[in-house]
Structures are given as C-alpha cells and as structure tokens.
Amino acid sequence: MVPAAKQRGHPAEAPRPADRGHYTIFLGMAAGVGKTYRMLLEAHAEQEAGRDVVIGLLETHGRAETQALAEGLPLVPQRRVTYRGTDLFDMDLPAVLRRKPELVLVDELAHTNAPGLEHEKRYEDIEDLLDAGIDVLSTVNVQHLESLNDQVAELSGARVRETIPDSVLGRADEVVLIDLSPEALLTRLRAGKIYKPERVEAALNGFFRIENLAALREVALRQVAEEVEAKRLVTEVVGTREGTLAADLPQAVGERLLALVEPYPGAQRLVRRAWRSAQRLGAQLDLLWVAPPAGEPDPEQQRQVVALHQLASVLGTTLIVEPGDDVADTVARVARERGTTYILLGRSRPARGLARLRVPLPQRLMEALPGVDVRIVADRSLRHEKTP
C-alpha cells in the first residue's frame, strides 16, 4: 500500500505563478453529496459580486434541483465529437479560452475526454484554463484518486477507470470537502434525488451500503486533513528558510514504521495498533519477527506465524522473518535497510536471572538507532479508568 501522502506531488514543488487562476476543488465521498450544487451556489455568489462567471461544463445527471440552480449562469456550449459513429460531448476548451471569463465551472474533473481533443483528461484542460489566468471551480469524488483505487475497488467491487493523480488535488489552492452523513445520503438516494427510481434498489445493494459510505467518508475526511497539513507545512517552511527546505520536505515528513512481533496471540494487537498509526501518519508499515536461529517453531508457533502472515497480507503490509541471535542488532539492521523512522514493540516479559543485568531492548534500540522513535505499545484493557 502506497500512502497517499507519498504519491501526492507537493504544492511546494511547483511554485504558483502570480497570474495563474485560483483553483478550487469540491471533494465528496460519493455521488449525490452535493458537490455540483455547492459549486453552483458559489458561482452565483461570485456572479452577484460582479464577476464574469460561466459554466464550462456541467453534469446535472437529470437532477431537478441542480438544473434549477444552474439557471442564470451563462453556459459555453459543449462541442460535439463524433467517434466511431457515436456523438460525444465535451467541454469546448478553445471556446472557453476565447471567452476568457474570470471564473469557469468545470464539473467532474476526473472525466476522460473524447479522443482527438487537446488533452486526454479533463483535469489537463483545467490546467490550460488556470495557466490562462482563469479561476476554476471543479468537483471530484474521492474514489477517483489513484492512491485510493484499490480501496475503492474493494468497497464497490468495481475498479474506477477514470482516475486522477493525487497531485491534481495537491495543486488546488483550495479543497473543499462536501460532507454528508451516510444516513442522510441514503435518505437522498431513497427519495430519488440522486438516481432515477429504477436504479435506486441496485445502488442500495451495491455501492451505497452504509458501511461503504462510512468508510469512504473517513477516507475523504482524512484526505482533506492531509491536504491541509501538507499546505501548512509548506507555508511554514517556505516562510522561514527562503524555501530551501521545501524540496526536502516530502522526505522529512515521510514516516516508515516497523513493528516487532513474535508468534503469539498478543502480537495481533500490536499489529493492529501499528497499522492504525501507519494509517494516521500516511506511512508504510513493516512487520518484523526476529526468529531464533536454532530450532523449528512448534505447531502452535507455526499457526501463529501463518496468522501473522495472513494479517499482514490483508492489511497490505509484509511480515519479514529474520533469523538472528541478537534481537537489537537484527532490528537495527533491518530498520536501517528499510529507512524506518518509528519502531513499535510490545511490553517485554519480565526478565529473569542474569537477564536482569542486560540493557532492555527499547534502550538498546534507541542507542543503536538515533533519530528513530521507539514506542512501547500497551495493552489498553489494563488501563485504569479515571475516576470522576
């Protein structure tokens, strides 16, 4: 699993020219949350403020409310492209550039253009508009982001073909999340406000399941949070050191976690926590078992190793098994090889006999790996509740 943060081109990589248009993207978790509606509301507000606003492309999907809201906004007619005997309609980019409005609305930026047009993808058309100094409002659903393609395929059972690089979102000046609770979205769907009645039942049994929507909502919320964080970091760095650190920033914030596991049931808890932390940090996660070099694991241990392999696979990470006498040395070597920034381990079992004299593993790791965080994962069920 490649974290979104790593795939995303950083805004600092391409400084924004002063005459480039302002780019706002309305991001949603699914169809029907109200992205286009909100875009039209913004357009009306801009128009009332005296700006020259046009619709470059609008997909109303036959929704009456959306169609009604589009009234009063000038529309640049779409152009027709005949391809293999079929008429296709797309945004007329040259016409919009000639018209040169102050602000243009371009719905569904992940769309693939008809063959033979200036660009293959609509988001590339938008780049031309921005370069011409035209402000752009656009919309996209979170499942169109390339880095989330696997996740969405898992949720919906179908791969989204029209994807956009995550860097497109990174280049936007503003990403506005259009949020709606899954329950409210389902109410809208059942009321026929998203699809025609004959498609509602299929949608309810397919993509629009409440657990899918809840998961996608979380993905969308996290995506926007990451965007905000990335922009904040760039602003701070560019503002403090003449931008010289900006190029190093993706590496500076790129975390890689290494969780130390052993084949016993408690290791699953450690893996869960490590995975969750990796998710939050947008980091890669590796699991490592330093196996004793001598002796075969007993059947119970073998079962646990298989279970750990399965868990690693379902989480999209890998279990590395390294034979080694000295756990700290082996961990340090693997951590260096993989560029680990963060090590997670469980609480050690109480030492017995002379082993009490040895330096504990966390301390040895801290000494062997300066600059690497070491975290001991506790069993939360043992935590005492705070008394009021």
Binding site: M1, D150, E154, E300, S313, L354
Partner: protein, 188 residues
Amino acid sequence: MSPIVIVIITVAFVAGASAGWFVLPRARRRPPTLPRGTRRILLPFTGMSISRRSFDAAVRLARAEDATIMPAYLARVPRTLPLDAPLPAQCLQAMPLLEAIEQRASTQGVAVDTRVIRGRTYRDALRRMLDDEPVDRVIVSATSNGHKGLSAEDLEWMLEKVPAEVLILRPDPEDHRKLTAEGVKGHF
C-alpha cells in the same frame, strides 16, 4: 576463610556471570504460546458490530472450559480482485472492532486470538478459516435480518459441514445490544 579462597570465589562468580551474559542472548526465551490442547471457541462476525449475546456466551464458555476465544472478522473479497488482495477499507472496520473485543474479553480474564479471514463470500471465508485452523466450538447469532451477516443457508451449512460444535443463538429482543468499535479504550 583465607584471602585466596575469597579471590577464587569472586573470580568464579564473575566468570560465571560473564558466561551467562554471553550465553543468554543465544538462549532467547520463546514467546508465550497457547498450551497444547487449548480449546478454541470461534466467534465469526461481519459488519461493524458483534452481537453482545454471542460475545457473552463465548466468554462464559471460555471461562468454564479455560478456552481461548477466536473472534474472526469475515471479509469479502470482490471477484474483481485476487483473493489475497489487501482490504484496507474492511480493515478500517475490523481492526477497532477486534481491539474492542479483545479489550473487553481481556478484562474478563479470557484469552483472545483474533483473525481477519478473507473469502469470496462469508461462508467461503469461514470454510477457509476452518480448513486451516480446527476449532472446538463455533458461536454465531441468528439474525432476523437476512441481508446482514451470515444467512440462514450459511447457518445450515455450518450445522452440516463444520467439524466442531456449533452453537446458534436464536434471535432475541436483546439482539439490539451490540459490541462496537466505540468500546475501544483509548487511542486506536
């Protein structure tokens, strides 16, 4: 005791300690595993919650039999994806829920060994799990909602095919009581 004897004893002690120091890392203790013959109670579940009645039943039996509970999240892999595909979206549901189950069971003194099992259907996932890891007992809760979780056909299949004792809890007014990810203590 003469000084020579004291010196000999001291040298012997230091030599022994040093030998132990170097030998011990090679004799690493094995991690604690389940004792051989431990009984396992499988608690399969789907979705975003688990029936409290099934959980409570599993805990009661595990305590009585000194058994380990195996809560297993059944994950469906779409046919468009390979069976070993990562399932991050379902894991977002499964991981906190497994954490909540483990925390609650641990506080009641019951050992837990969690799983996430993939399959094309819930039944397929369950079959794969049982092929790989024999269990002594399976506890599931029948639901009046045929669209959620294991269907009546799945339960029938379990009774016929699963080589373990199958305990199916009949639908009950108490079924609204669920254990969810909100039961997780602390950061997860």
